[in-house]
Amino acid sequence: MLEFKDVNYQIRQKTILKNINISIEKGNIYALLGTNGAGKTTLIKLIFGLLRPQSGKILFEGSSYVYNKIEVLRKIGSLIEHASLYGHLSAFENIEQARRIYGTEKSETYRLLEIVGLKDVMQQKTKRFSLGMKQRLGIALAMIGKPKLVVLDEPTNGLDPQGITELRNLILHLNQTEGTTFLIASHHLQEMEKIATNVIFIERGQIIHQEKLDKTLPINLEALYNQIIINL
């Protein structure tokens, strides 16, 4: 679905990402794990075409970003850190803003609000929402264009345990029912081992390890991470 082929990115001679090779397959949940400053956000910015790599290729379903960025972005949803919401607008109006751009049916707004459990409060202004509610609405916003891939950057930041559980269940639900592929950038290893089917470890701008997790076995990402760091 999404491929990074020998992607390099640098700012003023300083290498931020080096020889990135990733292949995101359809229907999986990928955890992009790394410490702060490892290059996760830069990688996400490259996915959305906000930055352009100096060398290498980024392909979505086989086609390059350079020629049809708009068409590619139509198939990718995003939630970058905290949900992007207009506080003075209601939950419904916030989703409608994005729906009009994607040109989807109005019923899609109601359907997504139902899925994220906010249909009862959809007329309330989002400034009155809790952080957990805002993040769920952010997921609905990311899903409005019926994307094939949803990219989440640190979605659990600042959430309480209940909010984290709600968000986790929502991601799993969307992955199973809608078949949406998720790429979640995070540094919360314990949380990611509960939902991820694949992990990608990134450190100092380089992919140091990637593997498909065997969900039938107990997973300890922290131990795996420590082992990789020792072997480096």
């Binding site: 139509r74 919401l85 803003q97 751009i101």
Partner: protein, 264 residues
């Protein structure tokens, strides 16, 4: 429907339901109310004294119109800065810039939609300003007949044309302020620059600088209208100027210091 139209529609839906937007759009009209009520409550002796000290033109319509049009450019600068900062800040405060740029639209379309919305807002506030002005002029003629309105011609259309020119020649300012706001992302500094640019239109202007060119054009138009000293001090009496400074100076100092404190 094109993407530009959709984005413009989104802008309208986003802002028209916000009270802050209405507060800013109605800001130029508050000046009409202020001038109207001060004119309404002004004793006849004070009116004669101020007129003889300033222009010597005893036409009460001219006095009222001048008290509106003279500070107009300065007020519009504040208005434009407030409007642009509001439109940009709505996206910053909700973290929505990031989301907007990940949508399947070109970034330049987002900026153009904002710019068109700003232009429409300016036109809208201009219409409101004129409605307020015409009504207040009629009310003054009715309630302050002691000023001698019947003896002098009321050239309200002249001031309307003047306000149109000031409004429209200031469109350059909007572009400059919008670009400054997007570039600097420091509202205090943008406000500071806009105000400084307002106070520094001393000839000769630099023709390569768009901002100064816009101001130069205004100056030229005003000269054609016979106004030599288009300055804030022109018709303000000392007390009003002091009040204005009392509001502005602390703001400018705070902006200046906050900018350098944040930078350091």
């Amino acid at each position: 429907m094109t993407i530009q139209t959709l984005l413009f529609e989104n802008e309208c839906r986003k802002h028209l339901s916000n009270r802050v937007y209405w507060f800013i759009v109605l800001f130029p009209c508050t000046w009409v109310l202020l001038a109207f009520f001060s004119m309404l409550s002004m004793p006849l002796s004070d009116f004669r004294q101020i007129v003889s000290l300033t222009s010597g033109d005893f036409n009460p319509s001219h006095f009222y119109q001048n008290s509106l049009k003279t500070p107009m450019r300065f007020l519009l600068t504040i208005y434009y800065v407030a409007l642009v900062i509001y439109v940009v800040d709505v996206e910053h405060s909700g973290n929505t810039w990031k989301y907007l740029f990940t949508l399947p639209i070109k970034p330049k379309d987002i900026i153009w939609a904002k710019f068109f919305f700003l232009i429409v807002s300016v036109l809208f506030s201009f219409v409101l300003f004129n409605i307020f002005f015409i009504i207040s002029q009629a009310l003054l003629e009715h309630y302050r007949s002691d000023f001698g309105y019947e003896r002098y011609p009321n050239n309200a259309w002249i001031v309307t044309i003047m306000i149109i020119k000031i409004y429209f020649t200031s469109f350059f300012n909007i572009i400059c302020i919008l670009l400054l706001t997007l570039r600097l992302q420091d509202y205090g500094l943008v406000f500071l620059i806009a105000i400084l640019v307002h106070f520094v239109p001393i000839p000769p202007y630099n023709p390569f600088n768009l901002y100064f060119t816009a101001l130069g054009k205004q100056h030229f138009l005003l000269k054609q209208q016979g106004i030599e000293n288009f300055n804030i001090i022109y018709l303000f009496d000392f007390k009003e100027l002091l009040i204005l400074c009392a509001f502005l100076i602390p703001y400018l100092i705070t902006s200046f210091y906050s900018h350098y404190l944040i930078k350091s």
